[in-house]
């Protein structure tokens, strides 16, 4: 296996008195889909936010392509080639879909020496990328605040995928998606992985994880249970670990197996 | 010899007329070798001014010089300063009677209403029948008295002759223009200080009424003096603010040091400045005049 593109070593993150991460190490390789699993509040979102420059780790080291990296802000991570879909989506409700789609990466049209925002192109790309994901938007100038939850999530995913990257981080991308959209996202993950992009995929759904994941890291209360490769671990084991080793409520047998 | 005197005015910050007062007390302080301080309520709120007088009294100066802009509001704090043994001189606005009532030593100045009234009488004798009063601080109760006095002197109702011009020169200018356009038979313009006079001069120049319309103003300033000189302004009422500030400091110092005190109130105005004898006025306008 190639050397890892992103190494997170012994990351700790404290918020005031709260210890959200108590030393987590993870390697991410090119062309693999690395699933990050764990209970609610385990620290997954906090962990990927230190990857993408939103939080500064309280302790620990980040190596990107072998070199120590110190992301001061998301911009730095983005220009290094890390694209992220956050759990809280990073959408501006009052702005239109296409303005949101291209926020921070606006297409430019030159008129003489002047550079203008190319609205026409932005609109076209937005509509087509969204329909690739299985969402037929009514129009690119609808405000994001009036989209349904799943439509909004799809915009965020389509945006991250479109602008490509060396590392694509997806924090519960499928949580609000319909079946069709979900299968599109999973297919997309599968595709970009094959193109050599490293994908970090957070989910609570074991079946989704098993479908596209190459390696699985389980977090629990700010610590890691370690990383397992596909095939080394059964869905049931994984599910058990994700629940933090605690018992599941039983529901008259009808929910047997994986939730 | 280290005496400290505090002058409390009722003017909002940056009212340019009071600048002369500041220069007056500064000069007197220098000449008499005493410490002088100037204080004012930033928004011109008289209730805030009362607090400043109380504050001045608490810092225990040798004397306080203050205006009596509203007897009701200010008499209490002034009286308690007097009771505390601080010498008080009333300046600028107030009456002789009120000065006695609050227990102040004397009065230096000229009540606003009287000044306006005198101006009104003068305008009436010049044949003025209607006027517009450009008030740049409409909510200031003291300055509005000038308009009221003027109207009474003329013997016409104040009614809608007073316009709320705001303080922005462009707005003043354009409101004067608008008013004159809507009321073309206005005989006279009265402005209440450089803030409203300067843009009014421009307005009259622009609509061609300069020199044509009867134009009087309170207080002096660079542009006003030029206006008087060029005949746009008939007269400026000079109540000699310099004296209102300078004299009390001198009087208080001498009273404290040697126990001497003039026997009467001093009327520093109204003096009408007209095109005659403008030289010194011109030189010191806005500074000591």
């Amino acid at each position: 296996m190639s050397s890892p593109i992103l190494q997170m070593k012994d990351i700790e993150k404290h918020f005031g008195p709260v210890i959200a991460l108590a030393g987590v190490s993870v390697d991410v390789h090119q062309g693999e889909c690395h699933c990050l699993l764990g209970d609610n509040g385990a620290g997954k979102s906090t962990f990927i936010k230190t990857m993408s420059g939103v939080h500064k780790a309280t302790k620990g080291e980040i190596l990107f392509e072998g070199k120590p990296m110190n992301f001061q802000r998301p911009r730095d991570a983005i220009s290094a080639g890390i694209a992220t879909v956050y759990q809280d989506l990073a959408m501006i409700p009052l702005m239109s879909v296409s303005r949101n789609f291209f926020m921070g990466n606006e297409p430019i049209r030159n008129i003489g020496p002047l550079k203008f925002f190319d609205h026409k192109r932005a609109n076209e790309i937005t509509m087509s990328e969204m329909s690739k994901m299985g969402i037929n938007l009514r129009g690119p100038d609808q405000a994001v605040g009036t989209l349904s939850g799943g439509e909004r999530q799809t915009v965020a995913i389509a945006r991250a995928v479109y602008f490509g990257a060396k590392v694509l981080i997806l924090d519960e991308p499928t949580s609000a998606l319909g079946v069709r959209q979900t299968s599109n996202v999973l297919a997309t993950i599968n595709m970009v992985r094959k193109l050599g992009v490293a994908v970090v995929f957070i989910t609570h759904n074991v079946r989704h994880a098993m479908a596209v994941g190459d390696r699985f890291t389980v977090l629990n209360r700010g610590k890691t249970f370690g990383t397992a490769s596909r095939g080394d671990v059964s869905p049931e084991e994984l599910q058990d670990m994700m629940a933090g080793g605690q018992e599941l409520a039983t529901l008259e047998g009808s929910l047997g197996g994986t939730v | 010899e280290g005496e400290k005197y505090i002058l409390v005015s009722h003017a909002p910050d940056s009212d340019s007329w009071w600048n002369t007062i500041k220069n007056g007390i500064a000069l007197a302080g220098e000449q008499m070798d005493v410490t002088v301080e100037y204080r004012n309520p930033p928004t011109g709120d008289l209730a805030d001014m009362a607090r400043i007088i109380e504050q001045a009294a608490a810092s225990n100066p040798n004397g306080i010089i203050t205006t009596l802009a509203d007897y009701d509001v200010l008499s209490g704090p002034i009286r308690s300063a007097v009771d505390q043994g601080i010498n008080v001189i009333i300046m600028n606005s107030g009456t002789a009677e009120q000065t006695r009532e609050v227990g102040a030593l004397m009065f230096v100045g000229q009540p606003e209403y009287d000044a306006g009234y005198a101006a009104g009488l003068r305008a009436k004798s010049d044949g003025v029948k209607s006027f517009v009063c450009v008030n740049h601080v409409i909510s200031n109760t003291v300055v509005a008295e000038r308009c009221r006095g003027f109207a009474d002197g003329l013997g016409v109702p104040l009614g809608s002759s007073m316009i709320d011009s705001g303080q922005d020169p462009a707005e003043i200018k354009n409101r004067v223009l608008a008013y004159l356009a809507a009321n073309p038979d206005t005989d006279a313009v009265l402005t209440l200080g450089p803030t409203s006079a300067d843009p009014t001069i421009l307005a009259l120049q622009e609509n061609g009424m300069a020199g044509d319309i009867y134009f009087g103003t309170f207080d002096l300033g660079d542009e006003i003096v030029k206006g008087i000189k060029s005949g746009i302004i008939k007269w400026g009422i000079d109540q000699q603010p310099f004296l209102q500030a300078y004299l009390p400091v001198v009087i208080l110092t001498n009273y404290d040091r040697y126990g001497v005190l003039p026997g009467n109130n001093i009327n520093s105005g109204p003096g009408f400045v007209t095109a005659d004898g403008l030289e010194l006025v011109e030189k010191f306008a806005g500074e000591y005049r």
Binding site: V18, I19, G222 | K22, A50, Q55, D70, S80, G85, T141
Partner: protein
């Protein structure tokens, strides 16, 4: 399902660092205000100690100014937490005072009646403010701004029409001995102060006609009102159901509506309370000074908002504290009067005011962050 026995308190969490209980006690919205207060007092103790600022008379002076700010800050604070602004507060102060004067002096009504009618009128205007904001969905900024103009206009127009001047005086005379007026204009604890003066704790006048009397002869009702409103506001906000609704309405009106909080009612009531505070301010002022003028209360809405913001509340609503606003009022009052005591050159007064306010706020924000460990 509605009833359920609380289970035993959860076990200690290994994911929380130990914190001293002192530090825990410090982590509250008022902390910033407290640090600012300490800072400001230290500053003036060093620069203006012998100027009379800390004599009993000097203390009374800045206490009065701070109490004035506090009265309107309490109203502005609760309204701001509920997510709205009231820019018409200053005009309301002028208007309320003028109405009392017109009713009491021009129309000659008994003063208690004039005061009651004015309160009803002004609280009604507050309700109207709120009603318009809720019904039209317009930002309160623009609605209350219109009211600012309208009320100030009436405050100029009415006395001008009725009395031909913009000041109406003589209220003290008609208020003499009125039971309601004394609630706003009198002093309490005069006996205690006389005793303190006799005992030499408070300095007495040395010369003049009042020689021998204590310099400060009682606690003005203004201060009593301020303290009363602060306590009321604080309890309302933190200890009652309604207080929770205030936070909710300001934090996210939509979310609050979803769970059944009567957001419109809360907001309208807060507008009314703000009007009430403004009227208290006006009544105290009129009773103390005996006259009402068209210039009263100009820009007071700003001073109220400044106090509230210094006290750590969010302009966007949903966060803040009445005690913080009260401390903000104290800081603002002390800085303002302290600069006079320190004898700052009058044209530089504002420069210093601005710098000290900024420093107070910056420092208290940093200290709060340091202690609470935010970012």
């Amino acid at each position: 399902m509605v009833t359920s026995n609380p289970s035993p308190a959860p076990v200690a969490d290994e994911r929380i660092k130990e914190r001293s209980s002192l530090r825990k006690a410090l982590v509250r919205p008022e902390l910033g205000g407290m640090c600012g207060t300490v800072l400001v007092f230290t500053f003036f103790l060093l620069t203006a100690f012998d100027s009379g600022m800390f004599t009993s008379q000097g203390v009374l002076n800045w206490t009065l100014v701070s109490a004035q700010f506090a009265i309107i800050a309490v109203g502005a604070c609760l309204l701001m937490i509920s997510g709205e602004f009231d820019l018409s507060m200053g005009s309301m102060i002028g208007f309320a005072g003028m109405m009392i004067a017109i009713f009491g002096v021009t129309l000659g009504w008994p003063i208690w009646f004039a005061i009651i009618v004015t309160f009803i009128l002004c609280i009604g205007i507050g309700a109207l403010n709120g009603y318009i904001v809720i019904k039209t969905g317009l930002p309160s900024f623009i609605v209350t701004l219109a009211l600012l103009f309208i009320l100030r206009g009436f405050t100029i127009f009415l006395p001008q029409t009725l009395e031909r001047k913009t000041i109406i005086g003589g209220i003290r005379d008609v208020a003499e001995g009125d039971w309601l007026a004394s609630l706003f204009g009198g002093k309490v604890l005069t006996g205690v102060f006389q005793w303190l003066g006799d005992a030499g704790v408070i300095s007495t006048f040395e010369r003049g006609v009042k020689a021998g009397q204590p310099v400060v002869d009682g606690v003005p009702m203004l201060v009593v009102w301020a303290i009363g409103l602060i306590i009321f506001g604080h309890i309302l906000l933190t200890k009652t159901r309604f207080g929770n609704w205030i936070f909710a309405a300001g934090g996210d009106a939509q979310a609050a509506r979803y769970v059944g909080v009567p957001v419109s009612r809360v907001k309208i009531l807060m507008f009314m309370f703000t009007a009430f505070c403004a009227t208290v301010f006006a009544t105290c002022q009129v009773m103390e000074f005996g006259s009402a003028g068209a210039d009263r209360g100009v820009l007071k809405e700003f001073e109220a908002i400044i106090s509230v913001v210094i006290g750590g509340a969010l302009l966007t609503g949903g966060y803040g504290s009445v005690l913080g606003a009260a401390l903000g009022a104290l800081i603002f009052g002390v800085v303002q009067q302290g600069l006079f005591f320190a004898g700052v050159e009058s044209s530089l007064f504002r420069v210093f005011l601005g710098i000290i306010l900024l420093l107070a706020v910056v420092l208290n924000t940093y200290i709060r962050r340091m202690i609470t460990g935010e970012r």
